[in-house]
Subunit: 351 residues, 2 copies
DNA sequence: CCAGTTGACTAATACGTAACGACTCCGAGG
DNA sequence: CCTCGGAGTCGTTACGTATTAGTCAACTGG
């Protein structure tokens, strides 16, 4: 943190001198306050001085007085930056940006915190303070950091659901439960009796929600709990041929995949299955509980889409509510997903 | 600019009280100054207090003292935000972001200024002050704004070349002259004798550079100035069938197109030409002096690529040089483009 | 002619930090 | 015994703004 270079900028004091008034009056002209009138002639002189000297209010001084500075921070827990178009997170950012712009806030990207590998509390401890409030994003998140932020009373909104024991935080999250349940009911209606849920090992809450949806759907469709299998995968290398054929031999006919950012697990599953002579969907129905891999000429994955742009927008709206409403309690918002009906599940044919 | 909500954060004074030292000592521990030692035991106590209270330095107060705050602003003169992948400007932003992250700076996107439609000096006059320095970007730029910024001594780097009379500013720009000249020489070698340059009406300097390249190339290839034609277009609707056939009837056999962000002009030209029965490149050679429309199965446009990501990176490097070097003069950087040899120009066949 | 009221302005202060100069120890050197 | 000097701390100030409490003159109504 070195010293700034360059010539000094004019201050309210200099404006005041030039206009022949006090600094307080300049401030009054700048932000007119109801009940404190300023004579028209005085106002004019001050405006003129501002024009002449090219004055601009100093945001730092303003912030020091405890004012907001119309800036929303955007922090991601994993390396989302640089913002690549193919990136899973890109639509969130677009939504955040659009809405911030619409509401007149600038957007501060905490690019440095990520590379520094220290989390929110890395560098000068809580770098987020440069902004009025913050939108947080990312799977591999530090619960301690979140809890700390809540304790400190720093205004933030998390994109995705996070439950922290003992505290309540603001978030906007997709509804994984309902569409998962609907998918299960559809599979049962298609004749499937044993269904596997393949969960990611990381990012607990979304996985919990999907499992809840699985059980709700099974209950509604009259499936027994024994017919449901839940397994975990930490990546593509987890999915071996023996594991997949094992599932099938155990009577599994439909697999619900919790997607990862790059969908490596799901793609590996498909590849391994086909290599083992299992055709999708004839021998094995596969659906993604979230964003699926891009459709190809022959394959459209059955899945559902998270409204990412809208979630980004909503996060900013919640945050601005927190910032502008005095003493708001934490806000939560759950948004519905839209179904994608593809050709990766089908009616079960008993052999 | 309302008041901030939430509980107050701990200050250096409170740390000092808890550690039994003065505020000045806390500051010393926080930013160790060469020549001013602090006892190990004291340092430890202060660190402990910082830990206990969860202290974080207040960036506003720091900034007010004239310190830099490790933030680079990014301002675009037209609506680049929200950052869309198809956007012409996206690669610049990626480069800026990468380099800012690498150098430990956060990135402040001035999204609000664009929508407010007021330019740099809109809102509270010069919103840029929230950052230490700024990267500026965009074609439809206000020369007055730029001149003002220079006058005020605000550190910034412009992406693209801009000459402002009487002042010198920092920029990173692509070299349009050399590849344009090379293209002209190549066309002449292919037998072309009358060449048209189709300039954009807006964004003067890049157009000037291309025209300079045209004349240099013509000179080197032994073409007479009379054989060069320069026309202007303000968009796709400018390009009518009569205009294009007029050019051809006047002996034009090759057209160099100055690209716009969306390349509408160039695409319109191609369409109109084909509709008029002119085949490219047999009847008419066409090349883009910059980024061409995306290649298709049958068409790769001859053009050259601006290294946009690298330019973004370079802009940040220049800016950080300005910020961290004391009293740096303005810096300029011209980067080479890479040729794209396509199938839209060919040897001239006399009929 | 005076108490009360309103309009227009200002002096003073607080916000949290970094830096400068001054101050107090304490041991070494004369 | 006195002086000197360095190590370690501290008091104070300045940064530029928004706000509070207050001053002061002009005006009102009785």
């Amino acid at each position: 943190m070195r010293k700034r270079a360059g010539p000094r900028r004019p201050t309210q004091v200099e404006i005041a001198q030039r206009a022949g008034v006090s600094q307080a009056t300049v401030s009054l002209v700048l932000n007119e306050r109801p009940g404190v009138p300023v004579a028209e002639e005085t106002r004019r002189r001050v405006q003129q001085a501002i024009e002449d000297l090219g004055y601009a209010v100093n945001p730092a001084a303003r912030a020091l007085r405890g004012m907001t500075v119309k800036t929303i921070g955007l922090y991601t827990f994993e390396s989302v930056f640089p913002v690549d178009q193919r990136d899973f997170y890109h639509p969130f950012l677009v939504g955040v940006e659009e809405e911030a712009a619409r509401l007149g806030y600038d957007l501060l990207l905490f690019t440095s915190a990520n590379t520094a590998q220290g989390g929110v509390y890395a560098r000068g401890r809580n770098a987020l303070l440069k902004a009025d409030g913050c939108v947080l994003l990312g799977r591999h998140i530090s619960r301690d950091d979140l809890a700390n932020l809540v304790k400190e009373g720093f205004p933030f909104v998390f994109i995705g659901r996070r439950d922290i024991e003992g505290t309540e935080l603001s978030y906007v999250a997709p509804d994984y439960v309902a569409p998962t349940a609907a998918l299960v009911e559809e599979l049962v209606a298609l004749g499937h009796q044993r269904i596997l849920l393949l969960r990611q090992t990381e990012g607990a809450e979304p996985g919990e929600d999907r499992e809840l949806g699985l059980r709700q759907g099974a209950l509604a469709a009259g499936l027994r709990p024994d017919d449901l299998v839940v397994e975990f995968s930490s990546g593509a290398e987890d999915i071996g041929a023996d594991r997949v054929t094992g599932w099938v031999r155990a009577g599994i006919t439909a697999i619900l995949v919790e997607p990862s950012e790059d969908n490596a697990t799901g793609l590996a599953l498909a590849e391994v299955a086909e290599a083992a002579g299992l055709r999708i969907p004839d021998d094995l129905s596969v659906a993604f509980l979230g964003s699926a891999p891009a459709p190809t000429a022959t394959r459209i994955w059955t899945s559902f889409e998270i409204p990412r742009v809208e979630m980004g927008r909503a996060a900013v709206q919640l945050l601005v509510n927190l910032l502008e409403g005095a003493d708001q309690p934490p806000l939560q918002l759950v948004v519905p997903c839209t179904d994608v009906r593809g050709n990766s599940i089908s009616r079960l044919v008993r052999r």
